[in-house]
């Protein structure tokens, strides 16, 4: 039981927490930020598993590109999953 093992377990818990958060969160922007946290930790995991190539790819694609693509979609559609929130112009109001 050394500190690396413990920290890996902690990171795993954080990752699963971020995933659950991404799923239950109604605000899609937060969910997208959560996916970028998932990629961040995933990238460290790949690194720990001695796969720097994959870690590099995950960092490159997961952190910046996936985020921007999702954010663009949210910009073009709705920020909230729930129907009670409606976007008028740039403001989000509750119905």
């Amino acid at each position: 039981m050394d500190i690396l093992t413990i920290s890996i377990i902690i990171m795993a818990i954080l990752q699963i927490g971020a995933a659950i958060y991404a799923v239950i969160q109604k605000d899609l922007l937060y969910a997208v930020i959560a996916t970028s946290v998932i990629s961040l930790i995933l990238s460290i995991f790949f690194y720990v598993l001695q796969a720097p190539d994959v870690a590099l790819t995950e960092a490159a694609i997961g952190v910046a590109l996936t985020t921007i693509v999702f954010v663009i979609t949210i910009r073009n559609t709705e920020r909230h999953e729930d129907k009670r929130h409606v976007k008028i112009g740039n403001k989000i109001i509750k119905k």
Binding site: A51, P52, D53, A55, L56, T57, A60, I61, A64, L65, I68, V69, I72, T73, N76, G89, N90
Partner: protein, 234 residues
């Protein structure tokens, strides 16, 4: 009701996954005798003189996959353009410039980011990374500029040229092997000594082409999506 069904389904899936993977030992050498892993590691070091064996697998042993992968990206860019296509003029990528600080920072960081991307794909056979990663980094550099400046434009014509030429380079390198009487994508250049920059025959060249192609494609994708606007700020 639907949730219950899905949860039962997931429980079944979870049971089988756990069952299967609990029997696959983590961190143990599972393969005895001759197997793909040892063969690739050995050939990558001794026959191809490529330091990064992931690169040698991606570009040489399984280079056909990579050709397909590049095609997937290319077609994704095409399909995305087709899906989002409109005859009307596009909106602008961002509505207003970022603050002076971000703009100057983007200015300053743009060239090093491009250089980092170039470094990653030029050294694809020596260090982690390669064409895809390098291309992604380059696209991110352009993304930085697009985010910082509302009037930053990327020329579609140039992108098409870069993309097509890089793709053609990849395909022709493959076909050259075929024409020279070897097999498709087989190496026909001298392989050099391991851990030199000029080593690995056609592998670095292919990765550089992939880097340019991926960079151009992803930049195009980002540009198309950023310019896709539903409303304009009055």
């Amino acid at each position: 009701m639907k949730k219950v069904i899905v949860l039962i389904l997931l429980a079944v899936v979870a049971y089988y996954l756990v069952d299967v993977f609990s029997q696959i030992k983590f961190g143990e050498n599972r393969f005895q005798g001759e197997n793909v892993r040892d063969f690739y590691l050995d050939k990558s070091k001794n026959d191809l003189h490529v330091s990064n064996s992931v690169t040698s697998i991606v570009v040489n042993f399984r280079g056909f996959d990579t050709l397909g992968e590049v095609t997937v990206l290319f077609l994704a860019a095409t399909a995305l353009g087709s899906v989002l296509y409109r005859r009307k003029a596009h909106g602008e990528a961002v509505l207003f410039n970022a603050s002076t600080i971000v703009r100057s920072g983007a200015h300053l960081l743009f060239a090093p980011i491009l250089l980092l991307g170039a470094y990653v794909f030029i050294h694809g056979h020596l260090s982690p990374g390669g064409g895809f990663q390098g291309g992604t980094i380059i696209a991110t550099g352009f993304l930085l500029m697009l985010l910082a400046y509302h009037d930053y434009k990327v020329s579609h014509g140039v992108l098409t040229w870069v993309e097509s030429l890089a793709g053609l380079t990849f395909a022709s390198l493959g076909l050259t092997g075929l024409i020279l009487g070897k097999t498709f994508l087989e190496n026909f250049l001298p392989i050099g000594t391991i851990n030199d920059l000029f080593s690995g025959g056609i592998i670095p060249i292919i990765y550089i082409a992939v880097g340019f192609k991926v960079g151009a494609e992803l930049t195009g994708v980002l540009y198309t999506m950023l310019n896709e606007k539903e409303y304009k700020k009055s």
